[in-house]
């Protein structure tokens, strides 16, 4: 029964070499391989979970963005409206201011003109009076020879002066 009788030599070598194989593979092959496999699985699981998280986060972000956009749009409209109002009021104010200013300028001008006129009249009066005095003096100097003449001359001048 050679086939079913185990040989001592093969038993011996099998025990020795299989033990060595077990030890070597266990220490240098299975440990890193199994560790790497489980590490890979962990990382895949983690990645999947974080992807899911990122997805929901993105959805949330998207909703936030939309809200923000809507708010911004409203804000813009408000700002534009305000600006238009501001523009209108500025223009209105400017117009008012300008008309007021114009009126004031007109008034001032009128006042200045009347004042100038009064001054000119005054000056004219003083000049006329000094002229009259000079005239009177010359006339007096020249024609005070006769009283008649003097009177005539004075009257004539006076007549002229009354023009004013």
């Amino acid at each position: 029964m050679g086939l079913v009788t185990p040989e001592f030599g093969l038993l011996f070598w099998m025990v020795v070499s299989f033990s060595i194989l077990l030890w070597l593979l266990g220490k240098y092959a299975w440990k890193p391989i199994l560790n790497a496999l489980s590490a890979r699985e962990d990382s895949i699981e983690k990645a999947l979970r974080s992807a899911e998280l990122a997805k929901s986060e993105m959805l949330k972000l998207q909703a936030g963005n939309e809200k923000l956009l809507k708010e911004a749009m409203l804000e813009r409209e408000k700002i534009v409206k305000e600006a238009r109002e501001l523009k209108d009021s500025i223009i209105r104010d400017a117009k008012n201011q300008a008309s007021l200013e114009a009126a004031k300028v007109l008034e001032d001008a009128k006042a200045a003109i009347s004042r100038e006129r009064a001054e000119a009249v005054e000056e004219m009066k003083s000049v006329i009076s000094s002229f009259s005095l000079e005239i009177a003096e010359t006339i007096l100097k020249e024609k005070l020879s006769s009283d008649q003449k003097q009177k005539e001359i004075v009257n004539r001048y006076l007549e002229n002066v009354k023009l004013n």
């Binding site: 029964m1 050679g2 086939l3 079913v4 009788t5 185990p6 040989e7 001592f8 030599g9 093969l10 038993l11 011996f12 070598w13 099998m14 025990v15 070499s17 299989f18 060595i20 194989l21 077990l22 070597l24 593979l25 266990g26 240098y28 092959a29 299975w30 440990k31 890193p32 391989i33 199994l34 560790n35 790497a36 496999l37 590490a39 890979r40 990382s43």
Partner: protein, 378 residues
């Protein structure tokens, strides 16, 4: 004529009662001496059972081919310890294929108790078997397979060490699904989430060792061709490793269950301990069945394939044309057997691993959860 009749009978045996025939062929094997076969193969009648047995059994040299009278074989180292003359180490080529003796040693003749094994003549003239740890064909094949396993798995492990996030490549992508399958569907499923990691390296090693040697057994020439997993010594050691693992990891519950199985009527235990006897037998039949299953499956596959080849020469001896004719059928059948054996190589490796894992899982089972904290420490 009588000879032809016996040959016909043998054909009948090969093609019909393969497993039963196994025992018959062993007796047929011991009728011829190996030296006869080596020297006179051209004149000798073809002997199918001898050819098959020589391919299945262990040998001191690694036979590659025989062309005419020239034997091409790889001689292997012989390591023997004799109680008379001490330790000897020499090449098996010194025996000249079993025809000569060397240093008082020779290969046992057919018909002797130690046919095909190294023997020496004792003081009283009887044949004595020395302690023989020769590197036989099977041992050389064992070493080769271990070197291949180490090369494959250490190189793969190196790639895994480079970083777990790298995609598998080459051999790694071939091995990785198998490792994952063994881990998830065999070991984790049988032993459980908690403790499977401790037994995983052993079971993976067993699986790949059996698988590789099954496959190498299918390769007809060097470095394959040795029938390693079809050798009872190899399967015995594998089964013993599993047995030791089961026994050392057995919980208190496991042993209590053997002595006093719960849920069984007391009269099956008390006056005659019937159930304990059955349970104790079960402890030893588990590894025994593991041993026999692998051995028988692989050996039977080899015998059938070789039987189909032998048919060619059996018919060829009668008529060359019959030999050619049968060869077509034989080769087709052998190809079919080869493919079947390829499947069996995977199945047997899987079955051995699965059953080992299941037995370990059974030994780890606990019935009362409050004892668990004490049990966890071992």
């Amino acid at each position: 004529m009588a000879h032809k009749n016996s040959e016909m009978l043998k054909v009948f045996r090969i093609s019909t009662l393969i497993l039963f025939w196994l025992t018959v062929s062993i007796s047929g094997y011991s009728n011829n001496s190996p030296s006869e076969k080596q020297g006179e193969s051209t004149v000798e009648k073809f002997n199918a059972s001898k050819l098959i047995m020589e391919h299945i059994a262990d040998s001191y040299e690694w036979h590659i081919a025989t062309i005419g009278n020239f034997h091409l074989s790889l001689p292997l180292p012989v390591l023997v310890y004799s109680q008379q003359s001490g330790f000897h180490c020499f090449s098996s080529s010194k025996f000249h294929h079993g025809q000569e003796s060397y240093q008082g040693f020779q290969i046992g003749a057919e018909g002797s108790k130690y046919a095909g094994k190294i023997i020496e003549t004792g003081k009283d003239g009887s044949e004595v078997r020395p302690i023989d740890i020769s590197i036989t064909k099977n041992v050389a094949s064992l070493f080769t397979s271990i070197v291949i396993l180490l090369v494959i798995f250490l190189s793969i492990a190196k790639r895994y060490k480079e970083g777990f996030d790298r995609a598998p490549k080459g051999l790694q992508s071939w091995i990785e699904p198998i490792v994952l399958f063994i881990r998830d569907d065999v070991v984790k499923a049988s032993i459980g989430e908690e403790k499977y990691l401790r037994y995983l390296p052993y079971l993976l090693t067993v699986f790949f060792f059996i698988l590789l040697n099954n496959l190498m057994g299918l390769v007809p020439i060097l470095p394959g061709g040795a029938n390693l997993t079809g050798n009872i010594a190899v399967t015995m050691i594998l089964a013993l490793f599993t047995f030791a693992t089961i026994s050392f990891s057995g919980t208190k519950d496991y042993y209590m269950h053997i002595v006093n199985a719960p849920g069984i009527p007391w009269w099956l235990k008390l006056p005659v301990p019937l159930m304990p006897i059955v349970e104790i037998m079960g402890v030893f039949t588990k590894p025994f069945v593991l041993m026999v299953r692998l051995f028988a499956n692989i050996t039977a596959g080899h015998i059938i394939a070789l039987g189909f080849y032998s048919l060619i020469f059996i018919f060829g001896e009668k008529s060359v044309y019959a030999g050619y004719g049968v060869s077509v059928v034989s080769i087709l059948f052998t190809i079919f057997m080869g493919l079947l054996e390829l499947l069996v190589a995977f199945i047997q490796a899987y079955v051995f691993t699965l059953l080992s894992a299941l037995y370990i899982g059974m030994a780890l089972e606990r019935h009362e959860s409050h004892e668990g904290h004490l049990e966890n420490s071992h």
